[in-house]
Symmetry: C2
Subunit: 359 residues, 2 copies
Amino acid sequence: MPKPLKTDVVDTSSSKSKHGTSILPNEKKDANYSRASFDLSANKGLLKRIEKINQTIIQYLEIDKGQPIVLYEAAHHLIRRGGKRIRSLLTLLACEAVNGDIDNALKAALAAELVQTASLINDDIIDDDCYRRGVETVHHKFGIDIAILASNLLVAQAVRLTAEIGLPELLIKMSNGGISMCEGETQDIIMRVENQRTFNEDAYFRMVAKKTVAFMRQAVLIGGLIGDASTSQLQALTAYAEALGYTFQLRDDILDITATSEQAQKTTQSDLRMKRGNLAVIHALNASQEIEKRRSFRALEAGDIIPLLELIEKTNALYYTFDLAKSFNEKAKSVLQGRGFATEKLLEQLADYALYRNY
Amino acid sequence: MPKPLKTDVVDTSSSKSKHGTSILPNEKKDANYSRASFDLSANKGLLKRIEKINQTIIQYLEIDKGQPIVLYEAAHHLIRRGGKRIRSLLTLLACEAVNGDIDNALKAALAAELVQTASLINDDIIDDDCYRRGVETVHHKFGIDIAILASNLLVAQAVRLTAEIGLPELLIKMSNGGISMCEGETQDIIMRVENQRTFNEDAYFRMVAKKTVAFMRQAVLIGGLIGDASTSQLQALTAYAEALGYTFQLRDDILDITATSEQAQKTTQSDLRMKRGNLAVIHALNASQEIEKRRSFRALEAGDIIPLLELIEKTNALYYTFDLAKSFNEKAKSVLQGRGFATEKLLEQLADYALYRNY
């Protein structure tokens, strides 16, 4: 696979390894990095749908609440702060692609966001991250007990909403997505510190298939089923969602290393501390000498991420990761072609967003 | 309400307040306590159904498993150890009551047990209990991260199983039960230490209605709906389940105080440490002088539960709690009468088990 132009990814020429995490440039400040910037707010088609999803979410949060209030405050804490709404966009765009009923798709999209929020609450507990979407994480603000219950509440609400659509098949897809996510998350946990040292790409992709991709796949399947899509339409939509999922996760891996917490509005560089599987880290380790790897592990144990960042730079691991992401982005766009999907253009733009986003 | 005979509850005459928790007698060792013993293993009708449920569970655990194995080991850890299977019995008996399809009822019963196991895993994390069903709790054995994911996995599996039955209404009931449970659990947490001091029975019953009763209600509703029960049959079954739920919780409150950990196969006397709302504790505090309450709180803060146990004894709080439980048990049995339910006798016996069980 050809390497992308340097301007496509990050300009590492300005790296200063002696200055903490600034070894990797702040993308926003890099004038040559314009290609890598996809401004969602300039895309009217996607933006209109995100706004519709956000309206649906806000309306729901106002109506469907109960006692004790603290449980609902905890459950609503992150979802109110916005988010990329990728999974709900997928459900909506897949349904629209085959001219399906928008109201039911919005209901399913809302359910997808509730489940997504539940999984973020859990992720933050598992990683003990304290910062997400510009605010304290739920377990930090409300305590771990309320956070667990808030996460369960969101799942129960999502199940109810989906059941109300009246197609049991949707819940089979949704729960399959949930099962895969749990399996992928567990795989991810297993891959921590000790294991990542001998970790390979195959295991990484197996983990991502479950952790990230399965849920995106279920999101388009649910949208497609609501729209009564044909089997071949569902196949194309799921192939698209899978390729999008890998693009999205690989971009996430890059951003975890390059983005500041401020940009990402969450704790970043946690992958570097070996909390999670990250393809750039895996590539950097696999492409380095044993002595260099050992040196970076020793430094990590002392809380110093610089030697690992240096390996990432030296092995062009970010370019390597971007290349892979780009090939998935291209695949996502190609599988849509010639299907006559009403939302083909928007789905393509979403694939570009997954690749070029800055947070 | 008349007090039950002393032999109906516990003989506190042998209490030795100077010897730690032995202030309250070990029920099993008390010869006068036979009335309070309901041996489930001697009840052929209920036992046959529990065995059928257990078979269904074991078969499912063998078939529906994936990777990583540790996730499934954690998810199966408690459910393999048995359990009272009350919720699944309720689903099965409600379906049989109206001569419904047993296979689908067993599937729903299995789903109820999976959800129940998920909630136990969460409860143990929230209380940080380390012992349940004679083994380590899931988060103690597998870590909190795997425990959270195992709990989520069980919920997703339960949703899938229920969706496979093909009645979306079942999932609406199930998720309503889940939402209530989250609300009730939160209420319970709010009631801890500080709040329990000024806590009253009304608030306790509101909490139990959500934490315990709602799920039992949903269990019979699901069984009834599978059996295509009429509206009036569903009303009778839910009235039964609600009364059973209160009986069950009040008995739990008594057992938390009187049973040894060995008998209960879980951490007991955690209510006494104000971890959870407990009607006997609430009554003891409400019926005591301010000076005595303060003394017991001071002792609790130093880890000493004896003064509170003395208040429970002095105020006859266990008898008071048993009286209430008995009145719910009687209500449960009365609402069943004259409906021609095929399983009326078994449902009555289950109500007696809820009241007289020793663990």
